[in-house]
């Protein structure tokens, strides 16, 4: 069940990975001179059609890894490839759902959702009708003309989902997309995500704080160690059969067993982070 990180599943040829980070290190220059290693020597491989979650304590560099995969951040060392080609500039085959609000506040919901299409040269009428289809999917068809500030937090997240997926990317990069949602909305969105993904064959890299969510959704859960300079400390294959019933999955014996095993590993990293924070507070005081 547990497998070593670096080797990866061997039945795929190297150039078939949707996302491939090899030996990626990211170092941030600090204002007072010196530097901070956010992540060190990250190896991550995601095959097309796979759903991979990254879980780790806060500040462990999850967003940093996703930004490198997207081409928004360049690794200090190591390289990033996508479908065999090195990523230079933004990764054109990926879409990104940001941890923060990223809708353009000056565009209405429908203009936000259709933006990716119109910028690609699709005619406005065509882009709008496609956007309407997506708004219906995420349950927002009556809100097309609102501005983002007139929506609830959950509605903004759903708009962001439509905005990111309308361009039909091969890779979905999602940074804690649902953590701001209430439990019910969240479950609806998770179901929605699984359905959209199952019919598509897209690769998903999904970041979350929530181990339950990670196990319930994924084919593979990757655990990141405590920062600074964190790296992948474990990778777990989730072989719960699909389609999964997200409402009852937490009672599944396989789920419980996996959760126990992975949490045992994650707990160590989380408490390391917590202790480091305490120690730092002590130094400051």
């Amino acid at each position: 069940m547990k497998e070593s990180v670096a080797s990866g599943p061997s039945e795929y040829a190297v150039d078939e990975y949707a996302v491939e980070l090899s030996g990626c290190t990211k170092e941030f220059a600090m204002p007072g001179g010196g530097s901070y290693f956010a992540v060190r020597d990250i190896n991550l491989r995601v095959e097309p059609g796979r759903f991979v979650s990254i879980v780790g304590p806060t500040g462990s560099g999850k967003s940093t890894i996703l930004s490198m995969a997207a081409g928004l951040l360049e690794p200090t060392a190591g390289n990033v490839r996508s479908y065999g080609t090195p990523v230079q500039g933004v990764n054109r085959r990926a879409s990104y759902m940001f941890q923060q609000d990223a809708l353009l506040p000056w565009k209405s919901v429908i203009d936000n959702v259709s933006l990716g299409l119109t910028m690609a040269g699709v005619s406005k009428t065509e882009a709008y009708s496609e956007a309407r289809r997506w708004l219906e999917k995420v349950g927002l068809k009556n809100f097309a003309d609102r501005y983002p500030h007139q929506l609830s937090g959950g509605m903004r997240k759903r708009t962001a989902v439509a905005q990111a997926w309308i361009v039909d990317p091969d890779i979905l990069l999602m940074d804690e997309p649902f953590s701001a949602l209430d439990v019910q909305t969240r479950q609806i969105m998770e179901n929605e995500l699984l359905q959209l993904w199952q019919e598509s064959g897209k690769a998903v890299v999904f970041i979350t704080h929530d181990l339950d969510e990670a196990i319930a959704l994924s084919d593979e859960v990757v655990i990141l160690g405590a920062g600074p300079g964190s790296t992948v400390v474990g990778s777990y294959e989730i072989s719960i059969p699909r389609p999964r019933d997200l409402l009852d999955i937490r009672d599944d014996p396989q789920f419980i067993e996996l959760h126990r095993e992975i949490w045992g590993r994650l707990k160590i990293e989380v408490s390391k982070t917590y202790e480091a924070a305490l120690a730092e507070d002590g130094e400051v005081a």
């Binding site: 928004l72 940001f98 506040p105 000056w106 565009k107 910028m119 905005q163």
Partner: protein, 292 residues
């Protein structure tokens, strides 16, 4: 955290001399400040009218009673009469036209160059670092001292005033645009780039709309500065314009004429500011209303 930053009403960063700013911004914030519940718009208007009548009436009475010197503070009724004479005889219109022409030219050229350089320097870090000290130096210069030299360079015609107004308008628009573009939320830029935006599309969909709030706050101020530039320039040396008319009146100790010129300018600025407000409301309709 960055989202709130862009929603707050931007303060203009570099406002240079004079009181033009005070005039304009006061008129504006008075409107946006929410009315107290229970006080209808009509009662407020009535109260404002009463206040104006009390002040002007008091002034008139004190003047007639000889308590304030009519020579330095001409009676409001006399000022109004002079304004009427200037308008009915058509005396003021050629002057007003010249002043407006100078202001509009100064404003268009100053705002245009300010916007262009603002966007350029915000996007090209090298240029910003290269030019920064020089721009700071020129901005530190009290602009009024340039008026005499512009008179020598460009003569008594409109171009010396346009040049003078330009130096006032340019820096405000430039610095506000620079700050506005640099202050754009990184996540918004990244999101647009992930959605496939080219540099041109980034400018159109992200940078320009995001900088608009800053640009507008600078437009309110710079419209006033354009007129200030024109009038001060005319006052110092010209053969036409409202500033010239005021200088003429002052030359013959006609304080009524001086005040009449002031009132006419005031109304011209108010009307223009109203138009800018309209445009702003239209272009920034996506913004949450700040009444809450």
């Amino acid at each position: 955290m960055t989202m709130t930053g862009s929603k707050e009403s931007p303060k203009s960063v570099h406002t240079s001399p004079d009181g033009a700013r005070g005039q304009l911004t006061r008129g504006r914030s008075g409107k946006s400040a929410g009315r107290k519940p229970g006080m209808s718009a009509l009662t407020m208007r009535t109260a404002q009218l009463v206040l104006a009548l009390v002040v002007l009436g008091g002034w008139e009475l004190l003047g007639r009673a000889g308590i304030i010197d009519e020579f330095f503070f001409p009676l409001p009724s006399d000022i109004l009469a002079t304004v009427w004479v200037w308008i009915s005889t058509g005396y003021v219109f050629p002057h007003l036209l010249i002043t407006m022409e100078e202001s509009i030219l100064a404003f268009i050229v100053g705002a245009g160059v300010g916007l262009f350089l603002g966007f350029l320097l915000a996007r090209v870090r090298f240029l910003e670092r290269l030019l920064d000290p020089f721009l700071q130096m020129f901005n530190a210069l009290p602009r009024v001292v340039l008026a005499p030299i512009f008179l020598l360079w460009f003569g008594l015609g409109i171009w010396s005033k346009v040049a003078f107004g330009f130096t006032l308008v340019f820096f405000i628009v430039f610095f506000n645009t620079l700050e506005g573009v640099k202050g754009v939320d990184r996540v918004l830029v990244d999101n647009a780039r992930m959605l496939g935006a080219t540099e041109k599309q980034l400018l159109r969909h992200v940078f320009i709309p995001s900088a608009l709030t800053w640009i507008f706050s600078s437009l309110h101020i710079s419209v006033g500065f354009a007129i200030t530039g024109a009038v001060v320039g005319e006052y110092l040396g010209a053969s036409a314009g409202v500033g010239y008319a005021i200088a003429q009146a002052q030359g013959v100790f006609d304080t009524r004429g001086v005040f009449a010129g002031m009132f006419i300018l005031m109304f011209a600025v108010l009307v223009i500011d109203l138009l800018v407000n309209r445009l702003e409301k239209h272009l920034l309709k996506w913004r949450p209303s700040r009444s809450a």
